[in-house]
């Protein structure tokens, strides 16, 4: 089998050393064409009657991946040299191409030309690796043409002029992407073609359409070598650029080298960097540093911008660090420190790693050009305000104007104010609820596809019932004789009995990570038969469960804790409302109600003890919609009511989670999945303290909410116990030294992992091998796209999984919030309302209010927009008060005001909720 052997020499970066690797050439690599008479066709993937087979150049794949993903491009041979080059250049594109290669509906065949006896190419003396790879591609193309004969045309697609010229010289059919797509005769495909960066294009084309724009707008990015040198010498600082969600002309770069965040004001200083890019920043001289202007709602806008009108938006109460406006947090309580509070400002000199991907949004309205079907240039406005407008070319402008579309960014040169990109696909009509919901899902990277047949095949056949096998299992306790009942969610069903590691079902669940709750629907982590039947602990049905059994004194002290897999038969599945009603109804004395009351009494004691230990009870602004069953439009909004029954259930769930955390940590001190909530720093609590100081110590609802906000900025996260030391395991919010998630394996993958750990600690099952720190590649491959640079080199399950679950968890929360916001807008568009609101923050040109009834937080302006206070209003920071210069009117923090809520659309296609004082 071994044919030949040659040596490939490589030098590694840093230390120069000669690496000699064997390279085996083979004769058993097949061409993938089913009609081939020579090759083994069992693994053939190309279409049997294809007249043209495409071979793609690396650069074509790199730049045109959106086009290639379109089903119109098919019968493609992907060469291994292309894959190797791609993997080094852009991992996300590599993964997308790999996905195409393994997709059963597409006809993409990977040809390992580098290991084929006839297509291996050895670099010639003086030949650059690039030229060598291009030659390898041509040689492989030629081999295919010879191999398959003249019946099939093998077409090399390359945009590299030199490569194309040489290919034609060697007698290979070669075309550029544009000419090939044109030859397909599908004009809409042309929108997907990425326009080459302007240096390469014939300048006339561009000039026509953008007259008088030759001015250089941005300064040039420094070459990589200079950046590296600068970073070494401490002139430049490296960090991830984060654009302010409320003001896209302000960005922050967290830099380790100066230990603080560097602020970057204005698009010119941002110098074409996108949110999430890794950039190199140069500090501006100190006299150009901006003095903190924390006290204005929409600071800095007019200064940098011509037309764009960005301002603070009405939103739900922020609940993560990213969302909270940051400027207020750092300033000390003393207002006199205005000079010191000037924070380092800088400008971007180079971009080390781009974070470009595709964005959802719509086109900026513009008149239709005269000729239909002609090329139009349009500006795309992303839904995400942090992203600048993107220039695209389209031939279907009329079609797209009223649609939500996805656009990918391709390039941003110095001459153009906006980056250029290309159209990827249409989601649906603007304003349509389904479209907007899908946008929410796409923006948060949530997979809402139906479960595949492979996944569903892993489910047990329905109707399912407890079998004698389960009952005779020595590890499973029969608790059917015990009076078991359930109150709403705590279905600690034995999910891991159905979801086995390594199955497609398990892979899918781990990729989804969590169920996502939107206002009008739920996106499950596991398929419906499991969530709604087999693992649902319904009344009077035998079900498998994983039980935590405590023995408690009447004082709620735990005497003993036991964990077991069990069979139960629930005698009642109550909702919170039902449970509460039973407890409240003093006439009922049946055993079930008595149990409920007993448990409630215990829960109250446990809760009290927890609060005494310093746990916080945080007001959560959970909003509930009443949805019209026909139209699915929201009919009413209200805050979710929390009953005693909720608290009772919560208390026992916490206790179960804590008990399980202790158990698994004892058995697996280095590989338990726990959840922690870091202690908030004083800085995070600063705004709250200031508010509290202004009103004495009167902490009422809205201030405990403010506390909740401050705390939420230190987000609870999953982690692996081996990565941190025990004092860091603390869950601050719950005042628990140890915590994990065990109680909802149906909707959270973390719980599934914990179930497996617990089962292993009880020696019911073996610890899945992946938990034992073996490289796990499947989960890495998926998380790579989203967590790129941080995790490229990491290959261990425990390094990946907690990070990935945190990411998924956060996205799910963001999506729920976005969905609530969306429905809030739909509701208020139809029902403008007057209501009570409480002032929570004071700004120079207004204040931020919290509307308790709807759980909404948003700004109220006292002055016209763009006018930054103008001296008419004066802020008294000590007393957290804003008053008119003449002292006639003043507003205090925590004061109640009446406001009017309505939906306005100051910018097209971006409706927002506006609050005005009445």
């Amino acid at each position: 089998m071994l044919q030949n052997k040659s040596y490939v020499r490589k030098t590694r970066a840093g230390k120069i050393e000669k690496v000699v690797k064997e390279h085996y050439l083979r004769d058993d690599i097949y061409c993938g064409a089913p009609a081939c008479t020579v090759c083994d066709t069992s693994a053939a993937r190309l279409s049997p009657n294809a007249s043209t087979i495409l071979v793609l150049d690396t650069n074509v794949v790199l730049n045109q991946i959106d086009l290639i993903e379109n089903p119109a491009i098919d019968n493609v041979v992907v060469l291994s040299v292309v894959l190797d080059e791609l993997r080094n250049k852009n991992l996300s594109v590599y993964n997308r191409l790999r996905a195409l290669c393994s997709s059963p509906v597409r006809k993409f065949f990977v040809f390992s030309n580098e290991h084929h006896r006839d297509t291996y190419v050895k670099a010639m003396v003086g030949e650059s690796p690039n030229d060598r790879n291009d030659r390898a591609i041509r040689v492989a193309t030629q081999w295919y043409q010879r191999h398959l004969g003249s019946a099939v045309r093998i077409l090399l697609i390359t945009n590299d002029r030199e490569n194309k010229r040489k290919a034609v010289e060697e007698g290979i059919f070669a075309e550029t992407v544009e000419s090939y797509v044109k030859s397909l005769g599908q004009p809409q495909l042309l929108d997907l073609v990425v326009q080459p960066a302007s240096e390469d294009v014939v300048m006339d084309d561009v000039e026509d359409l953008r007259p008088s724009k030759k001015k250089i707008i941005y300064s040039e990015h420094k070459p990589m070598s200079e950046i590296t040198a600068g970073l070494h010498r401490g002139i430049y600082h490296q960090g991830k650029l984060r654009v302010n969600r409320y003001n896209s002309f302000e960005a922050y770069v967290g830099s380790e080298s100066i230990g603080d965040e560097i602020i970057i004001y204005g698009r010119t200083n941002m110098n074409r960097a996108f949110d999430g890019d890794i950039v190199a920043v140069e500090l501006l001289p100190q006299d150009q540093w901006h003095v903190e202007k924390a006290l204005s709602i929409a600071a800095e806008v007019g200064n940098y911008l011509r037309a764009e009108d960005e301002d603070e938006d009405v939103h739900l109460v922020p609940n993560s660090s990213d969302d909270a406006p940051r400027n207020a947090s750092v300033q000390g309580p003393n207002a006199d420190a205005s000079l010191n509070s000037a924070r380092p400002s800088g400008r971007v000199v180079g971009i080390i790693k781009r974070n470009w991907h595709s964005y959802c949004g719509s086109l900026e309205p513009m008149p239709l050009p005269a000729g239909i079907g002609g090329i139009a240039h349009a500006l795309f406005v992303s839904k995400d305000r942090r992203i600048p407008k993107i220039r695209i070319q389209t031939r279907q402008l009329g079609n797209l104007l009223d649609k939500r579309i996805i656009v990918a960014v391709d390039s941003w040169d110095r001459l153009s104010r906006y980056p250029s990109g290309h159209y990827v696909r249409t989601i649906g009509e603007i304003g349509d609820r389904n479209t907007e919901s899908e946008v929410v899902l796409i923006e948060n990277d949530i997979n809402c596809r139906l479960f595949s047949a492979q996944v569903l095949a892993c489910l047990p056949p329905l109707p399912w019932s407890v079998s004698s096998e389960h009952l005779s299992d020595p590890n499973r306790e029969d608790l059917r004789h015990v009076r078991v009942f359930s109150v709403d969610p705590p279905d600690i069903a034995d999910v891991t009995n159905f979801v086995h590691p390594g199955t497609p079902l398990d892979d899918e669940a781990s990729q989804r990570g969590t169920s996502v709750y939107l206002v009008e629907r739920r996106i499950d982590m596991l398929p419906k038969p499991l969530t709604e039947d087999i693992c649902s602990l319904r009344s009077d049905v035998e079900r498998l469960a994983f039980s935590v059994i405590w023995e408690m004194t009447p004082e709620a002290d735990i005497i003993s804790t036991r964990f077991t897999k069990s069979v139960i038969k629930s005698c009642a599945a109550l909702s919170y409302v039902e449970a509460q009603a039973r407890m409240d109804d003093s006439r009922l004395v049946d055993p079930l109600t008595t149990d409920l009351r007993n448990m409630n009494a215990l829960a109250k004691k446990m809760r009290q003890r927890r609060i005494d230990r310093g746990a916080l009870t945080l007001a959560s602004a959970e909003v509930k919609f009443q949805i019209d069953t026909e139209t699915h439009d929201p009919l009413d909004i209200g805050m979710y009511q929390i009953r005693e029954a909720n608290q009772m259930v919560e208390e026992f769930m916490l206790a179960a989670n804590v008990s399980v955390a202790e158990k698994i940590l004892k058995h697996f001190p280095f590989c338990s999945l726990l959840r922690r909530h870091p202690t908030p720093t004083r800085e995070m609590l600063e705004p709250l303290l200031r508010t509290a100081a202004a009103v004495g110590l009167d902490l009422d609802i809205s201030s405990s909410k403010a506390l909740a906000d401050s705390l939420d900025r230190a987000v609870a996260v999953y982690f692996c116990s081996g990565d941190l030391s025990p004092p860091e395991y603390l869950h601050y919010g719950l005042a628990a030294p140890l915590y994990t998630h065990f109680t909802s394996p149906i909707r959270r993958y973390a719980d599934v992992i914990v179930h497996r750990l617990l089962a292993a600690s009880l020696e019911i099952s073996k610890l899945p091998t992946v938990f034992q720190d073996r490289p796990q590649l499947t989960s890495i491959a998926d998380s790579k796209d989203v967590l790129h640079n941080d995790l490229l080199h990491v290959t261990k399950f425990w390094d990946i999984m907690p990070v990935y679950l945190n990411y998924r968890h956060r996205n799910a929360q963001m999506a729920s919030r976005a969905s609530v916001e969306l429905h809030t807008i739909i509701y208020f568009r139809k029902h403008p309302t007057d209501t009570e609101a409480r002032i929570v923050k004071i700004r120079s040109n207004g204040f931020i209010v919290f509307v308790p009834k709807y759980g909404i937080e948003g700004p109220v302006y006292l002055t016209a927009k763009g006018d930054n206070g103008g001296g008419e209003w004066v802020v008294d920071e000590q007393h957290q008060q804003v008053k008119k210069a003449d002292g006639s009117v003043s507003y205090n923090v925590l004061q109640m005001v009446r406001i009017h809520l309505e939906v306005v659309e100051p910018q097209p296609n971006r409706p927002k909720l506006q609050l005005t004082l009445i």
């Binding site: 050393e17 690797k21 091998t769 034992q772």
Partner: protein, 241 residues
């Protein structure tokens, strides 16, 4: 890192159950009683055997069997980087011991009481699997020296990366940190005389990986036998038989 592509090729172009190319030559050191060079891909090992001869150190003499001694060294140039390795470091001592025990188990030591057999193995070029290559080279050298053996002991390694059992790991695969099972095997007696593993594996996977390594050992044994036949033919020819 991807050690096996979805097309089923390893980084160097082999399939998971393929070995690297084997090469062997007998009689590399004419002064020795028996010697051989053994190559597995880019791993190249030389072995020389002296004995049976008089025991040097009378204190070590064993009355009813031969004393087997083994010394494993790595040439300074074997890994490319010119780091001078002290002789007798932990790793070489361990491998020396492993080789000695493996060879002792197949040499019929009771036929040569009060004598000593010295086995010297040196790694000329290291690219993973040196331990296996040394055992294979030592076997050939012992056979060349005409020392009576129960069987031709051979050795091969196998690993488990990307959820795939891989035969005969090279350096890159070896340094991935995954499990690495080295097996020494007596093919005719169907007995395992050496079994070592780095890292962890679950029992069922371990069995399949070990089975793969055993298959590798068998293939090496066939090759070694062929080489010996060829060598014997040469000797016959030279004698003019």
């Amino acid at each position: 890192m991807e050690f096996v592509s979805p097309e089923g090729l390893r980084l160097d172009g082999r399939r998971p159950t393929e070995m690297r190319q084997l090469r062997a030559a007998i009689g590399a050191v004419s002064k020795a009683d028996g010697s051989a060079v053994f190559e597995m891909g880019n791993t190249k090992v030389i072995a020389a055997v002296y004995g049976p001869r008089e025991v040097e150190n009378k204190a070590e003499l064993i009355n009813d069997q031969a004393l087997v001694r083994c010394e494993y060294t790595m040439a300074n140039f074997s890994t490319g980087d010119r780091v001078r390795k002290p002789k007798g470091d932990r790793r070489s001592t361990e491998i020396s011991l492993v080789i000695r025990q493996t060879m002792e188990a197949c040499i019929m030591t009771h036929l040569m009481p009060r004598s000593q057999i010295d086995i010297f193995v040196q790694v000329l070029q290291a690219d993973g699997g040196t331990r296996s290559a040394c055992i294979n080279a030592a076997t050939l050298a012992l056979a060349d020296a005409g020392i009576p053996m129960r069987d031709l002991v051979t050795s091969c390694s196998a690993g488990y990366l990307n959820s795939t059992p891989l035969l005969d790991l090279n350096y890159v695969e070896d340094s991935a940190g995954g499990p690495d099972v080295t097996v020494g095997f007596l093919p005719k007696l169907d007995k395992v005389t050496l079994l070592q593993m780095d890292s962890k594996l679950s029992m069922d996977i371990f069995q399949s990986v070990m089975q793969l390594a055993i298959e590798g050992c068998k293939a090496i044994a066939n090759y070694i036998r062929e080489v010996l036949h060829e060598n014997t033919k040469q000797l016959e020819y030279r004698r003019g038989v």
